[in-house]
């Protein structure tokens, strides 16, 4: 039993919202696992192939793009591997950030009724995307073997680009979902932004291609350019990344997670009023 001097909940207790949220996520970590499990199992619950679709989807896209573009981009060695590594990173980013928005809006009715740490929906969205990304590594290796592409030893470094990518996507997803609570249009507008962003990032074309100068300038300021690049260095190019390839990705990851977390938690007391 709690004593009179120590309330379990005190609305006056001054802890920074950002720090409190980190502690609360630790307390609700079982819920986090449950939400990821729910997302993965319900998505394919009524389909025959089930979770195999996570692997078939990028394979199908890769196949189509390879058939259409391999003549055009014949300078790119093992184009199917090139495209699949790019798609894995991009799909993680677009799925994760979209699900972060969707989850917060979905969870809105719950946030209005019971206390749950608010960031949990964003984090579980990234968790789900992470599981999907790990599952696409299987078809990636199969494709490498089938086109006689030597599987590079640097693949063991894959957790590093994935960590940066996950932190960046989480920060970005939290930032966007906080905006989407106040302006429902953000979710729709974001689809256009995503399409434009994808074509401004060397996912399906090689970066050595003849590109309009503004696109090339944009590469330097495009966090996804650095995320894709670092991922490809260890999976496709099969070499150790140079310092100049690591720090931009690391900086974007750390910067975005701090900005996103602070922005989201500073607004989080208002969600129950708005959602």
């Amino acid at each position: 039993m709690a004593t009179a001097s120590k309330p379990v909940y005190d609305s006056d207790r001054q802890v920074s919202a950002a720090a409190r949220e980190i502690r609360e996520i630790g307390r609700y970590r079982y819920l986090l696992g449950q939400l990821v499990k729910r997302d993965i199992t319900t998505r394919y619950k009524r389909s025959v192939l089930g979770v195999a679709w996570t692997m078939i989807n990028p394979l199908g896209t890769m196949l189509i793009l390879s058939l259409v573009f391999s003549q055009l981009f014949k300078t790119v060695e093992s184009y199917p591997v090139y495209i699949l590594t790019g798609l894995a990173v991009w799909n993680f980013f677009s799925q994760g950030s979209n699900a972060a928005i969707g989850n917060l809006v979905w969870g809105g009715s719950l946030l209005n009724r019971i206390y749950i740490p608010r960031t949990i929906f964003g984090i579980s969205a990234i968790g789900t995307a992470l599981v999907n990304l790990l599952l696409t590594i299987v078809p990636l290796i199969i494709v490498m073997l089938s086109v006689h592409f030597p599987v590079p030893w640097t693949m063991v470094l894959i957790p590093i680009p994935i960590l940066f990518l996950a932190l960046f996507t989480l920060g970005w997803g939290l930032f966007l979902s906080a905006l989407a609570v106040f302006f429902p249009d953000v979710a729709e507008m974001y689809q256009i932004v995503l399409t434009a962003w994808m074509y401004m990032t060397p996912i399906i074309y090689p970066e050595t291609m003849d590109l309009p100068p503004f696109v090339r300038t944009f590469f330097n300021y495009n966090p996804m350019y650095w995320m894709v690049k670092l991922f490809r260095v260890v999976t496709y190019e099969g070499r150790l990344p140079a310092i100049g390839e690591v720090w931009p990705a690391a900086l974007w990851a750390v910067g975005m997670i701090i900005v996103g977390w602070l922005f989201f938690t500073s607004k989080s007391d208002e969600y129950a009023y708005r959602v």
Partner: protein, 263 residues
């Protein structure tokens, strides 16, 4: 609903808290900010913001509420729609942070609000028990411990592996109640949910609540059913336009409330 553009709030007196206080509200006010015109799009907001045309109606859903609920008490809240009852439950359970004032809660809260709200239709009954339990903040071992008891109480043993979408609304509510009350709560918050299922199940729910009460749970009930409130509560507060009109014995408060609302 009434709107108040400007309200004088009395300075908050630090409430005295004794060893048997369960919930303490000191000068709690909750203000909703409703945009005067609906601004739905981001573009529109930016344009209006630049023109300084974003205006809000300020509405006090709770206005300087002082209230003490003692440990082990069954405390009822009555009032008309929009009087601030649900807002008060939200402020107590930590869903809303009060705009002004201070909420202190001495003990862990189990919310019993709209049963089965977190159920996913495609998941089985069993999976939903664990999902719902985790939404209420319980760990996996804590849920495994009470799982059999939940199945028994809700009387749904043959259906636990079927997806929730095949359940009737009564079955949904039974499972929701069983999960929400599976653990002994220090403080239980009940919002209009006692009228679920058939009579036999309602009896079961009430017995369980009485059991909690005997073991010292503090219960906070919001209901429009004045008879339920009168039967169950030790004390009642009448909320009117966000303010506490009267606190006291159930008979007394309900009589006063009825007198005004029938006149």
């Amino acid at each position: 609903m009434h709107t108040v553009s400007e309200t004088n709030l009395s300075p908050i007196q630090p409430g005295t808290v004794t060893a048997d206080t369960a919930i303490q509200l000191d000068g709690v006010s909750v203000q909703y900010r409703i945009p005067t015109e609906k601004i739905g799009t981001f573009k529109e907001f930016i344009i209006r913001y630049m023109q300084r045309k974003v205006s809000f109606t300020h509405f006090w859903a709770l206005n300087t509420v002082d209230l003490t609920v003692k440990r082990g008490e069954v405390f009822g809240i009555i009032g008309k729609n929009g009087a601030g009852k649900s807002t008060m439950l939200k402020a107590v359970s930590g869903v809303l942070r009060p705009t002004k004032g201070r909420v202190r809660v001495f003990g862990h809260i189990a919310p019993l609000l709209e049963l089965g709200a977190g159920f996913h239709p495609e998941l089985s009954g069993r999976e939903n028990v664990f999902l719902n339990g985790s939404l209420l903040g319980y760990s996996k071992p804590a849920m495994e411990e009470v799982y059999d008891e939940i199945v028994e109480f809700s009387d749904l043993k043959p259906f636990m592996d079927a997806p929730i979408r095949t359940y009737s609304s009564g079955m949904n509510a039974r499972l929701g109640f069983a999960v929400a009350t599976a653990h002994f709560p220090e403080i239980l918050i009940v919002d209009e949910v006692l009228s679920v299922g058939d009579e036999a199940f309602q009896k079961k729910c009430q017995d369980r609540m009485k059991g909690f009460q005997e073991r010292g749970t503090t219960i906070l009930i919001v209901s429009h059913g004045l008879n339920t409130i009168q039967d169950m509560c030790d004390r009642v507060a009448w909320l009117d336009h966000g303010k506490v009109r009267l606190v006291g014995e159930p008979e007394e408060v309900i009589a006063a409330y009825r007198a005004e609302n029938q006149a």
